[in-house]
Symmetry: C2
Subunit: 304 residues, 2 copies
């Protein structure tokens, strides 16, 4: 089960005919996580042929419109599509009041529960965990309270080497979960079969960090250390560093510095100001510091 990231939109501020505001769909270990939800996200999800019913967790970085104005419509559509299972919404304190006010006034009667997980911590915290995946906040520095999110696969089970296992009748099906967990097997005569004979290495767990919107912030580096893929906003080029600081954003050069210091596998940039036409200027600048940097493409699916 691989992990895939679909970039639904990566534009800053004003939607245009050809670009959508921030939203991403992360499929990790069969979970479907929606990250940010700018206006028009539900249409982007349709273009990506995403199954709405698989989305049970939505993570909103901050309550600026270009990151959350698609939420009311998406949740209303969930209702019209007959959803009956809970939807978990993670986001800054205030998100519940905003959405519930909208749903009350627009008489959006839901047939399912929306479980709000409101965030106001300034330290990174684990906000989601199941048997395969963990999600942590990445506190950011924007004009308004803002978190990135770190999605981590847990250590995976070792693969059973059935060819070897079948040689030992003493190993029964009920022993498999010990073998998958890396334990050796002791035969009745006291001989110990080493785990590495009976199993093979699993795929390494992958991780994905989403950092939007923020000023250059070195405190994120230990949180996102060695992630497989980092998405980091880069609204401006570095010649507009002052503008970036003033508006609470990062330059492409700074995003690359974060990537290099965190020793991530790959950097994807995004949230570009509308003032730029040809976006390759962002990778040109970032690659001087971190060569493995890429531009997003709308509806592109990135294997992580």
């Amino acid at each position: 089960m691989s992990t895939y990231l679909t970039i639904l939109g990566f534009n800053s501020a004003i939607p245009t005919v050809n670009t959508s505001p921030t939203s991403q769909l992360l499929e990790m270990e069969e979970r479907c996580f929606l990250i940010d939800c700018g206006e028009g996200t539900q249409v982007q999800l349709r273009k990506a042929k995403a199954r709405f019913s698989k989305i049970n967790h939505i993570f909103i970085s901050h309550l600026h419109g270009d990151h959350c104005f698609g939420l009311p419509g998406l949740i209303a559509s969930f209702r019209l599509l007959g959803r009956d299972v809970p939807l978990h919404v993670y986001g800054p304190k205030g998100i519940k009041k905003m959405l519930e006010t909208i749903f009350t006034i627009t008489e959006t009667h839901r047939g399912f529960e929306v479980v709000y997980h409101e965030l106001n911590n300034s330290e990174s915290e684990k906000i989601y965990e199941d048997n395969r995946v963990e999600v942590y906040t990445i506190p950011l520095d924007h004009r308004i309270y803002c978190n990135g999110y770190l999605f981590k696969e847990k250590q995976k089970d070792r693969h059973l080497n059935m060819q070897e296992i079948s040689k030992y009748k003493e190993i029964e099906t009920c022993d498999y979960h010990h073998l998958k967990a890396g334990k050796d097997f002791e035969l009745s005569d006291g001989y110990v079969l080493k785990n590495e004979i009976l199993t093979t290495d699993p795929a390494l767990p992958v991780s994905y960090a989403f950092c939007s919107d923020t000023r250059y912030l070195e405190s994120v580096i230990p949180i996102i250390k060695n992630v497989t893929v980092l998405y980091h906003e880069s609204t401006f080029l570095h010649d507009l560093k002052e503008m970036a600081d003033y508006t609470g954003h990062t330059t492409a050069l700074e995003a690359a510095r974060i990537a290099r210091q965190a020793e991530v596998g790959k950097l994807i940039l995004g949230h570009f100001s509308n003032r730029y036409g040809d976006l390759t200027v962002f990778t040109d600048e970032a690659r001087t510091v971190f060569p493995n940097t890429f531009l997003p493409k709308a509806l592109e699916v990135v294997k992580i």
Copy 2:
């Protein structure tokens, strides 16, 4: 100055890849009126190459999401585009609380005033008037408080016949507005020049009625009598009349009956349920009662 209607979206409920929820742009006597504003309307406005700065009045029929979820994003974009003149928003009571809650929580600081005109009257009322145009509500019968809107050009000035006027030195520029208003001109010798010699007929004033969403409702007929163009929702075909009544909608046949009884010039249908593929079934049904019925096309500009 002709009157043009641009259909920005005419879908019901859930936006799809190729269709947008209800929104229309009416350009009448150089005024730009936005009618309803479903999610994604601002992108449709861009596709229509509409000038955002010309929109000073927005009329919302009712507070269901598919008619208003594009408003927060559009107003946020107005701010980002530097708007500094007031924006008038007409809509059901509750629209102010909803929008202001959103703007407060998302810290959407506006550089311009939003003037709310909240409606809760069950009788038709004049809600806008200037020297050339009047707008009236059309109370409808939906699951939630809902108004259609009637836009009427006022009687236009008569055109000056300069060839005739130039024959009479006594007629001065300051007399023209009397002539345009239809008055005769008395020469100093007492001879009366009839107005129809000095002027020609102006274009007849046109009118446009927008009726969305409603059950079949005969009380709209006197309000929209003889309008040049009527848009009327027809969510269902008449074989689903019970469903239409239950959900507060109209069938194509019923929309045509309204059009015929109101003796309108032209009927445009819309707000079709997603269950229908080929939409010509709607005009097929409606034309049995009112032949001059048409389907909308996205971004089509209709001369009224």
